[in-house]
């Protein structure tokens, strides 16, 4: 550190004792509190159907797919971009992996590794087009979404059914009452949380998301990091597709339809910003859990499916609006 003597004092330094300031209102904390509130409320209203281990287990096992996608999406949004092709990617990789093991007769591990490599390549393609060719991320991934979905339908038709037991054993296995896909999601979350919060390398994404120009001028290689984040996202989406195919013993070609928006919604609820630079992996998980919880309580309280859509939409806008009001800056 260079020795720099204090500059001549021309401005008074604020030496007055500081007021104890409340921690800044963050969407993660707000959402976690709201989640607890809903759990409490519905535990009282529905002590038998809602407050049961079976129900929570059912919530968990069904959020794993979107949860895995949301982890990758959080990384993307921290870096200030997003990827609309993840749902189609999950479908495509599920179908490719399923096709390789069922129709081509490849050994299961080899089929999985190949699927993940194809996913990484597809993600890299997205990243290359966005970072090097400089096509807007929305357009790029909207385009590749169509491509991946098309490939999934080409290879799989409606889907590859009755996948080999040696593959499905894994997705349906339970450890301590928790299904394997949930464990995969948690393991991935721990790794991602560590990377994003504690490694220097992934820290750079916060800078890129906050101000890409300043990041570039601070010596951060924005292009390379962007390509990498798309590659990681693609691989994670492929993993989600494989894990889900293993769970339901079927590689459905349309499994991921709409999942990209679910993941983005959850991640935004969990504290990310569409303009980048914000968010944590825990926030993504809370967002996913909150969405799954909302759907569950709507099923439990027998709200019709039309109203479910209306309520979920309103909750999303409300949650982000409250956050925006809380954080409104001085004009």
């Amino acid at each position: 550190m260079p020795e720099v003597a204090p500059a001549p004092a021309t401005l008074p330094v604020d030496t007055a004792p500081r007021k104890l300031r409340l921690p800044a209102f963050s969407r993660e904390i707000g959402l976690a509190a709201l989640t607890l509130l809903i759990i409490l409320l519905f535990s009282i209203l529905y002590p038998y159907t809602f407050k049961s281990a079976a129900n929570f287990n059912a919530i968990l096992r069904n959020l794993a797919f979107e949860g895995i996608l949301a982890i990758g999406m959080m990384l993307m949004l921290v870096g200030g971009v997003f990827d609309l092709s993840v749902g189609a990617m999950a479908s495509m990789i599920g179908v490719i992996t399923g096709w390789l093991m069922k129709n081509a007769g490849w050994p299961v591990p080899l089929a999985i590794v190949t699927g993940l490599l194809v996913a990484a390549a597809g993600g890299f393609l997205n990243g290359f087009i966005v970072a090097k060719v400089r096509v807007n991320a929305l357009i790029t991934t909207l385009g590749t979404m169509g491509v991946f979905q098309g490939v999934a339908l080409l290879i799989g038709g409606p889907g590859i059914t009755f996948l080999p037991e040696s593959f499905t054993r894994f997705g349906q296995a339970e450890v301590g009452g928790i299904q394997a896909p949930v464990l995969v999601m948690l393991a991935l979350a721990i790794i991602a949380q560590y990377c994003l919060a504690h490694t220097r390398f992934f820290r750079q994404y916060y800078y890129i998301g906050s101000n890409p120009k300043a990041a570039h001028l601070s010596g951060i290689s924005v292009e390379r990091l962007q390509m990498l984040s798309f590659t990681i996202m693609g691989t994670i989406a492929g993993l989600a597709g494989i894990v889900y195919a293993s769970r339901i013993a079927t590689a459905t070609s349309t499994v991921g339809v709409g999942a990209e928006l679910q993941a983005i919604t959850a991640v935004i609820l969990g504290g990310a910003s569409l303009t980048g630079g914000k968010g944590t992996i825990w926030g993504a998980l809370i967002g996913v859990f909150f969405m799954a919880l909302m759907k569950n309580v709507l099923i439990i309280s027998r709200v019709s499916s039309e109203w479910q859509g209306i309520i979920l939409g309103a909750v999303l806008v409300l949650a982000v609006a409250v956050d925006s009001i809380m954080n409104r800056k001085k004009a």
Partner: protein, 344 residues
């Protein structure tokens, strides 16, 4: 801050709104009672807490709301039990899986599942059955699962009924018959086989089935092409719900109404009008109402039937209901159309 919102106020308002909404959505629930043995059949009120849930993807499809849902409610009223509709309102397989599992988790008395995917729904159905929730498949089957029974149309039989209507319509004439449908679907293939078994005996030539993608516009396009390619075509039969309207459009545009004998599956308003106008010769309707009506009753019987096979049927794994319910079909022609049309 230009407009300062008091944070505590906002949180309080939110909490109140949430609580209010929650209370409005539901009252407090009662503890689930053990179903079966202890209660007397015939005492309607004793089953009032039993809940039977119908779960499907695309759960608000007009076909469902017109036939399956009202019959579901009717069965519930007759038995004095609760009925419920669940599932995503798009064709969303993960959403359907989640709905099955989360519905099973709240331990209803029984579940009816529409088998949108014969493979992907196996794990959630088995999971529910293994955890003591009886499941039957309705409308479409998941034969590889541990569902107790399937209630729906026998499509081979449906093919036979269409062929019979066709033979009757041709009145002894012979010639080429074209088939349309979702050709990759098992049920359509069964129907094609049933159709052939009758038509070929009657000396008709059945052409290779054509794909219409379950889409009216596509069905119209394919039907028009067939009419072009086979000027001597005697008849045409459609096997998904959109085939009939599509064929009707093509036949009308080709000016061949009445000259081609056309039959189709389903008897919705659109199909019926085409029969009334003489564009279609016959429509073979599925008794959709019976899917859910019989579904609820079968689940109810599975719990409450007095028929005994062993000293302990539950332990022996014997279930006191049939495995297959063919709900059958009805055939609409110009002779009986008046009885089917809502407004003459």
């Amino acid at each position: 801050m230009t407009k300062k919102v008091n944070r505590r106020q906002a949180i309080r308002a939110g909490a109140l709104a949430g609580a209010g909404a929650g209370l409005a959505l539901a009252g407090c629930e009662k503890a689930p009672q053990q179903t079966g043995e202890s209660r007397q059949p015939g005492e309607r009120s004793s089953f009032a807490n039993e809940e039977y849930v119908w779960v499907s993807a695309n759960s608000n499809l007009p076909l469902f709301t017109a036939h399956d849902h009202p019959a579901l409610r009717l069965a519930g009223e007759e038995l004095g039990v609760k009925v419920q509709i669940a599932g995503p309102n798009s064709i969303d397989i993960p959403g359907l899986v989640a709905a099955i599992e989360q519905t099973a988790a709240r331990k209803p008395a029984g579940m009816m599942v529409v088998g949108w995917d014969p493979s992907a729904l196996v794990p959630p159905i088995n999971h529910a059955v293994e955890n003591g929730v009886p499941v039957v498949c309705v409308d479409a089957d998941v034969p590889a699962s541990k569902r107790l029974a399937f209630i729906g149309t026998d499509w081979y039989d449906l093919g036979i009924r269409q062929a019979e209507a066709m033979v009757k319509g041709l009145a002894g004439k012979r010639g080429k018959i074209a088939l349309l449908g979702l050709i990759e679907q098992t049920i359509d293939q069964q129907a094609f086989a049933g159709f052939r078994s009758v038509a070929e005996k009657a000396g008709l030539t059945v052409l290779e089935p054509q794909q219409d993608k379950g889409n009216q516009a596509e069905a119209a396009r394919v039907a028009a092409a067939i009419l072009q390619a086979h000027p001597d075509l005697a008849g045409m039969a459609g096997f998904d719900s959109e085939s009939g309207p599509g064929m009707g459009q093509a036949i009308r545009e080709a000016g061949k109404a009445g000259k081609i004998i056309a039959t189709c599956v389903d008897a919705e308003e659109q199909h019926l009008r085409l029969v009334r106008d003489g564009v279609l010769t016959a429509a073979v309707g599925q008794k959709r109402e019976l899917f859910t009506y019989v579904g609820v009753k079968a689940l109810f019987e599975a719990l409450h039937s007095k028929v005994r096979f062993t000293s302990d049927d539950k332990a022996a794994g014997v279930i006191p209901i049939p495995v297959n319910y063919n709900t059958g079909t009805y055939t609409v022609t110009r002779e009986n159309i008046a009885l089917f049309l809502k407004s003459a």
